[in-house]
């Protein structure tokens, strides 16, 4: 089995791969709408699709905020301590 060929095949068909992933995302949200719910520990547990939004927003905020903080305060040259 040649792993490189499999990976190359996936890379060459990136469009199909993307479509599959979008379908999968849609499917999880639809599943969440019709899923039986009990034992909510948090208000978000009752809202369908809440965790999708949570994942997307947290991911974007994390990148934006931390990159901003890094560029303004934290980032130093690699020989900073020498």
């Amino acid at each position: 089995m040649n792993w490189v060929n499999i990976i190359d095949y996936l890379r060459n068909n990136i469009k199909t791969l993307k479509q599959v992933l979008y379908l999968l995302m849609a499917a999880t949200v639809i599943f969440d709408v019709f899923m039986p719910r009990h034992e909510a520990h948090f208000f978000g547990d009752k809202i369908p699709g809440f965790w999708s939004l949570f994942g997307l927003i947290c991911c974007i905020l994390l990148i934006r905020l931390m990159k901003g903080l890094s560029h303004t305060v934290l980032m130093k040259k690699e020989d900073y301590y020498e």
Binding site: W3, V4, I7, L21, L24, M25, T28, V29, F31, D32, M35, P36, R37, H38, E39, H41, F42, G44, D45, G49, W51, S52, L53, F54, G55, L56, C58, C59, I60, L62, I63, R64, L65, M66, K67, L69, S70, V73, L74, M75, K76, K77, E78, Y80, Y81
Partner: protein, 588 residues
């Protein structure tokens, strides 16, 4: 029934034989030792073994219960995998250091009193420092010293706490500490343990030291130090609110830094802080479910984190760099390493069917059921960051992204085998969580918990998929940069450098000015005082001594003249003296 052989014995005594063996025989020996230790853990029964009374202290070397068993189980298993990964290393001393290191953490796990804990605790710190130094780079040497100093500091906190605790209670027994009874001594012990668990703000030693360790040493280090600390926290301090809060803070702090780091092993180090945060939070929440979760997560984490360090280590070993900005396009040359790494990456992210899913969720559910919704949401936020950095960013920029032009080979077979076996275990725990849950300290709570429920599956898959979407939307912004980021180690690295400058500028200049003053005035003053003493010596002391001597000579000279050798004279003098004495008596 007494079938307890302390597994640390295999490692600590076994280490001494390593330099005597060569080649294939040594390799077989290195694998047999952890295998025997693993077998001894499997075959031991609960109970208290090796109790000795020494100098009035009750020393317990072997306390075996369900909590120590689960940690010993994964430690010995991990030792086997780690040795397999490092089998190609020919230097005996590297293997010895890792054996002592593993022995130390097993010693802590089975210790029933604080003295034993402390001794093995320090053994771990020292042995692991060598795993950094053996990289033999100037940066490693410095990082190793900083690592050692931090751990000595932590050890001293622990020791001070132990002494105060002993003074207050009169007992050295290492037992559960009730929250109401915890005073200054207990909190000192807690901080000593917390430093090893890399609890914020005592965490900076970890991302400072681990990226500088040897490729194989880092695989051991990421497994033992922090998880031994989780064990002692779970043993002594479950239910301490402060741990729940600090642990959750760690999970978020770690993922925040991992987002902006460039070095692969530094990213993974920050994720140790993050993942250990889950365990610390689980211990802090303190319910049966949460403590079970902490143990399960420690077990799963040791395996997948080692796997991640193995993957990153292979890249470092084969390309000579672990900086993401210098890597890219490696999938054509190291596809197996990529696949094994990705198994680790999706395990840590908590994908269904992999180990993180069945362990992390236990802690999150524990937080939810104990009515800590804020902690629960923050823990889920951290899992977004985990998938983002470890599951997506790191493999993307190392194995895909732009082609860096490097054409490395796959690592040696033993490393691939170690990664393959660990990958299998991550998968196995994910699909058959009962194997892990059966080891946990609270069996009933573990049996009641079912990770593969519809809401949990839905929540996890949604978070993961949409994190992936966010990653690809902001891919350009995540471009790795050849920079470092400040962390709390700034305080001891820059402040000590500042102190050295202060020392050079003020203390040292005062010292040299003082020297100058002394040379100019002090020397003259000394000469004057010395001159006086020379005069006094000559005329005072010498005068007395010399005149005494002259007097003695004079008396001797006179007395000599009396000794004529003439018997008549002697008799006359003797009779004269008698008369004088009688006369004196008569008149008095």
């Amino acid at each position: 029934m007494n079938n307890f052989i302390h597994p640390a014995l295999f490692f600590i005594l076994g280490a001494f034989l390593i330099p005597a063996l060569r080649g294939r025989i040594r390799q077989i020996y290195l694998l047999i030792v952890p295998a025997l230790a693993f077998y001894s853990v499997l075959s031991m029964n609960t109970g208290v073994y090796g109790e000795i009374n020494y100098l009035g202290f009750n020393i317990i070397m072997g306390r075996v219960d369900s909590l120590s068993m689960v940690f010993a189980h994964v430690f010995t298993l991990m030792a086997f995998l780690g040795v397999l990964y490092g089998l190609h290393v020919s230097e005996a001393e590297q293997h010895m250091a890792s054996f002592f290191y593993v022995g130390g953490s097993l010693g802590v796990v089975f210790a029933g009193d604080y003295l034993t804990v402390f001794i093995f605790w320090e053994m771990m710190a020292l042995a692991s420092t060598f795993l950094i130094w053996f990289r033999r780079e100037p940066a490693s040497l410095k990082a190793g010293f900083r690592y050692l100093l931090m751990h000595i500091f932590g050890g001293l906190l622990l020791l001070a706490g132990i002494f105060l605790h002993y003074k207050n209670t009169g007992s050295m027994a290492f037992e559960l500490i009730p929250r109401e009874g915890a005073g200054f001594a207990e909190y000192l012990i807690l901080s000593g343990f917390a430093l090893n668990a890399a609890v914020f703000p005592l965490h900076a030693w970890l991302p400072d030291a681990y990226p500088e360790a040897t490729v194989t040493g880092a695989v051991f280090m990421c497994a033992f130090t922090t998880k031994t600390a989780v064990y002692v926290l779970a043993r002594g301090f479950p239910g301490f609110e402060v741990l729940a809060i600090m642990g959750t803070a760690m999970t978020v702090y770690g993922v925040c830094y991992a987002t902006i780091e460039n070095d692969m092993r530094r990213i993974l180090s920050y994720h140790i802080i993050s993942q250990v945060g889950y365990m610390v939070a689980g211990v802090g929440i303190g319910t049966e479910l949460a403590v079970n979760g902490a143990c399960a997560h420690a077990y799963a984490h040791i395996l997948y984190k080692a796997l991640l360090f193995m993957g990153a280590g292979s890249v470092l070993m084969m390309t000579g760099t672990s900086k993401l900005n210098q890597l890219g396009g490696l999938y054509k040359y190291m596809p197996l390493s990529l696949i094994f790494y990705v198994v680790g990456g999706i395990s840590i992210s908590g994908f269904p069917l992999f180990s993180g899913f069945v362990s992390k969720s236990m802690i999150v559910a524990g937080a939810g059921e104990a009515h800590h919704p804020v902690l629960m949401v923050l823990l889920l936020l951290a899992s977004v960051g985990t998938f983002l950095s470890v599951g997506l960013k790191l493999p993307y920029f190392a194995w895909f992204g732009k082609d860096c032009g490097l054409k490395p080979k796959e690592p040696p077979a033993n490393m691939l085998w170690a990664m393959g076996l660990t990958s299998f275990l991550c998968f196995f725990i994910g699909v058959y969580p009962k194997a892990l849950y059966d080891l946990l300290p609270f069996k009933e709570a573990a049996a009641e918990y079912h990770p593969y429920s519809a809401p949990h599956l839905s929540e996890t898959v949604q978070i993961l998929l949409f994190t992936g979407l966010g990653f690809f939307l902001l891919l350009k912004r995540l471009q790795p940069e050849a920079k470092i980021n400040l962390d709390f180690d700034w305080f001891y690295r820059k402040l000590t450098a500042g102190f050295m400058r202060f020392d050079e500028k003020y203390i040292q200049s005062f010292d040299s000015a003082w020297g100058e003053i002394y040379r100019k005035t002090g020397l003259k003053l000394t000469m004057i005082i010395a001159g006086f003493f020379a005069w006094f010596d000559r005329w005072g002391i010498d005068g007395v001594v010399d005149n005494t001597a002259y007097g003695t000579v004079w008396i001797g000279d006179k007395a000599r003249k009396v000794q004529t050798g003439d018997l008549q004279n002697y008799l006359a003098i003797a009779i004269l003296i008698i008369f004088v004495i009688v006369g004196i008596n008569w008149f008095l």
